[in-house]
Amino acid sequence: MKPGSVSAAAAAVLRRDLVLAWRSRGDMAMPVLYALIVATLFPFALGPDSALLARIAGGVVLVTVLLSMLLALDALFRPDLEDGSLEQLMLAPQPLALMLSMKILAHWLTTALPLIVIAPLLASMLHLPGHAIAVLVLALVVATPLLSLLGSVLVALTAGTRRSGMLLALMLLPLCVPVVIFAAGAVSAAQANLPWVAPIAWLGAALALILVLAPLACAAALRIAVDA
């Protein structure tokens, strides 16, 4: 790869973000710990009845993962905005949408992937049957990139504001409703031994669409929110 070319720049952005995340491994563990604690709270609140827990396990794990991702999303652009490197990225000759999709990829690898790894543990803690756990992991593999991409557009919009945590939740959660419905639908269909491919296919179609649109929208939103 020639230095300065688009692919070299994309690789550099990806490598930089992954190295930065690796240097502060403690922060990477936070969403995982949060998800673990939230999932542990449910048996305390509802009682240890394993039939009840098995029925709600899929939805609980999905919502827990969604909330942990929401907590981690704020860190997608904030450090770069504070040290000015985001402005440098926006001024760079390489296409901003591509650079941002590399940042989103790095963010997904460092926050969502650990959550997917831990999801079978959470699900079996809540007595979800084995074959449904496989569907749950598959649903998460398709749904979490969707959430990351959708979230990145909204994080970009709040990048210029001071207080963004609660606002981000207010903006993101309504848009997440279809993702949660389809992902939970697949898991509960698998639990009832019904065909579960259709909801996953819907999620996949949405992912294909948003994979193209979200980086462009994210770049446009960032230019609106930071240009002042």
């Binding site: 557009v153 909204l154 919009l157 709040t158 210029g160 504001t161 001071r162 207080r163 963004s164 606002l167 207010l170 903006m171 959660l173 309504p174 848009l175 409703v177 279809p178 929208a217 446009a220 939103a221 609106i224 929110a225 240009d227 002042a228």
Partner: protein, 251 residues
């Protein structure tokens, strides 16, 4: 075609012209809206015959259905003016999009409240996770998100553009609300009033509904005119025309 329409639109988008225009328009719209409101309510609550199944409980549609239409219509207007605001950065479009949001949120809230008031005697429950109810609730959250994002920025024009972008992202919800009763056959009833073709509602029951719809539209225009006028005054508070207005008032 003569090009007076684009000319007129361009003239109107300048804040002082719009300020005067809206000042003239507002009282007329408000008065007409109130008159139609009285006619529509009298027609709906007194003159229309009771429903053969629901009795008098159905009369809440004269509030519920116009508000529900307004909740979608206002979001549509916000999307169009938000689109204009993001692309051409016209100050008036930003203002129209942002000042419509609280009105739309209020109509959405009225829709949800009247719906649950009606649901209790007829469906036997205040709330159910029906597709249309849920998507209307999501619409309310979208409105609140737009309002929240607008107020989170220190620079108001930048906040308006960012929130307008959010409006455009949220447009996907509009067809979901509208077609939810056709896609998922859940508790909420299907369409009975059609713009094209024959409605499956009795004419005696229909005309007060249409009058109420017109009344809510006019109310929105009047309310929007007032809100945009004050917004223009505060956005342009350093400009000559605002100072001239203030001097006129003092003299």
């Amino acid at each position: 075609m003569a090009n007076w329409i684009p000319h007129w639109m361009q003239r109107l988008s300048s804040p002082p012209t719009f300020y005067r225009f809206a000042g003239v328009l507002r009282p007329w719209c408000m008065a007409l809206s109130l008159i139609l409101l009285i006619i529509g309510l009298y027609g709906g609550l007194v003159m229309a015959p009771p429903d053969y199944q629901q009795g008098d409980a159905f009369r809440i549609i004269y509030i519920h259905v116009p508000s529900a239409w307004m909740s979608l219509f206002i979001y549509g207007v916000m999307a169009v003016s938000g689109f204009i605001a993001v692309i051409w950065r016209i100050k008036l479009a930003e203002s129209v999009a942002m000042q419509s949001a609280p009105i739309g949120a209020a109509f959405t809230f009225i829709t949800l409240v009247t719906g649950s008031l009606w649901g209790y005697p007829t469906w036997g429950t205040w709330w159910t996770w029906d597709a249309r109810l849920t998507s209307e609730l999501v619409l309310l959250f979208l409105y609140l998100g737009v309002i929240g994002l607008y107020h989170a920025f220190e620079d108001r024009r930048q906040g308006a553009r960012a929130a307008a972008f959010l409006v455009l992202v949220g447009v996907v919800n509009l067809p979901i609300v509208h077609y939810s009763v056709q896609w998922w056959h859940t508790l909420h009833q299907g369409t009975t009033v059609r713009l094209f073709g024959k409605s499956s509602i009795e004419a005696d029951m229909l005309w007060p509904l249409l009058v109420m719809t017109l009344s809510t539209k006019l109310y929105w225009v009047a309310s929007l005119c007032g809100r945009v006028r004050t917004d223009m005054l505060s956005l342009e508070s350093g400009k000559h025309w605002v100072r001239d207005l203030a001097m006129e008032d003092e003299a």
